[in-house]
């Protein structure tokens, strides 16, 4: 069993209204050094697999079917650690 961290972000060309609002708020807090905020989502889940190829196949399949909308989003994932059963 492995723990997976899946990060979902809007494609660069897709307007991120949350990011823009945060960017304005941060500037109002006098942090002009911060820019280009983009807001994404992170999903954590356990997967009952140990084979890396199998994990890759399952994660990609579900990411494209449900976890993301590939019209507007991209994703990346990391296998974090072995989960003790």
């Amino acid at each position: 069993m492995k723990k997976v961290e899946l990060i979902v972000t809007l494609k660069p060309q897709v307007l991120d209204t949350q990011g823009e609002a945060l960017n304005r708020a941060v500037h109002e807090l006098d942090h002009d050094e911060i820019n280009n905020i983009r807001v994404g989502k992170v999903l954590y889940f356990d997967i009952d697999e140990t084979d890396d190829a199998k994990i890759d196949e399952n994660v990609r399949q579900l990411s494209e079917k449900l976890f993301t909308n590939t019209v507007i989003e991209t994703y990346s994932y990391k296998v974090l650690e072995e989960v003790s059963q």
Binding site: L15, K65, L66
Partner: protein
């Protein structure tokens, strides 16, 4: 013509949708999202609302609901499928319509009457309207900003798939797009609510002709390519 009005947890325009098609002379029944068949129905209406609480993305959870395969079959059979608001979001999520709906560019929820233009009346949904006719439908959405890439947009234009546009774009939608139809001409999605525009006394009855036209759908319709 008997229509299925699909009910997901969080659908909230289901009664308005059923009322609209019945008022227009059609028959309709509610169908629960856990059903797996739509046999016996001549068309599908996917109502607005917040299916599954908009968890993950609006329409995402509905795209993997048990009823979804049956909706795709109805579409493949050249029967009419209309998705309004969350119904439009669901149609893009399940791949029956191209593009996606993202947050309004102001990131605010917009609920008001909008003036729109029927840009394509050469469809079996809109043939009762004049081309270029101005209509008023209410909108009520937070994620109604129509997004598609350049290639998809060129295809929409080339195939005359843009059916409805905003006269005063409220949400940042690409080229003012408010509603699109599939290439085959039998799946229509729009953010504005024609089912809330049935009575002049309440502001607009411009939605009535859309539903009236749907009740006269013919299986071997000239419009189906």
């Amino acid at each position: 013509m008997k229509f299925a009005v699909i009910r997901f947890p969080g659908s909230n325009c289901d009664r308005d949708m059923l009322n609209a098609i019945v008022k227009a002379g059609g028959e309709a029944e509610y169908v629960d999202y856990r059903e797996t068949t739509l046999s016996g129905f001549d068309g599908v209406l996917i109502p607005g609302g917040f299916s599954f609480g908009d968890y993950l993305r609006s329409g995402a959870m509905a795209s993997v609901a048990p009823i979804t395969a049956a909706i795709k079959e109805v579409a493949a059979d050249n029967k009419p499928v209309l998705g309004v608001c969350n119904g439009f979001q669901i149609l893009t999520e399940i791949g029956l319509l191209p593009g996606a709906l993202i947050f309004n560019d102001t990131h605010t929820f917009i609920s008001r009457n909008e003036t729109l233009t029927i840009t394509n009346n050469d469809t079996p949904f809109t043939s009762e309207y004049e081309e270029g006719e101005t209509v008023v439908y209410p909108v009520a959405h937070g994620e109604g900003h129509y997004y598609c890439d350049d290639e998809t947009y060129q295809q929409l234009v080339a195939n005359n798939q843009i059916v409805l546009t905003y006269n005063d774009n409220p949400n940042g939608s690409r080229n003012d797009i408010a509603g699109i139809i599939n290439e085959n001409g039998n799946v229509l999605g729009m953010m504005p609510h024609p089912e809330r525009a049935l009575e002049a006394l309440l502001g607009s009855d411009d939605g009535m002709r859309l539903f009236a036209r749907m009740t006269e759908w013919e299986a071997e319709h000239d419009y189906i390519h």
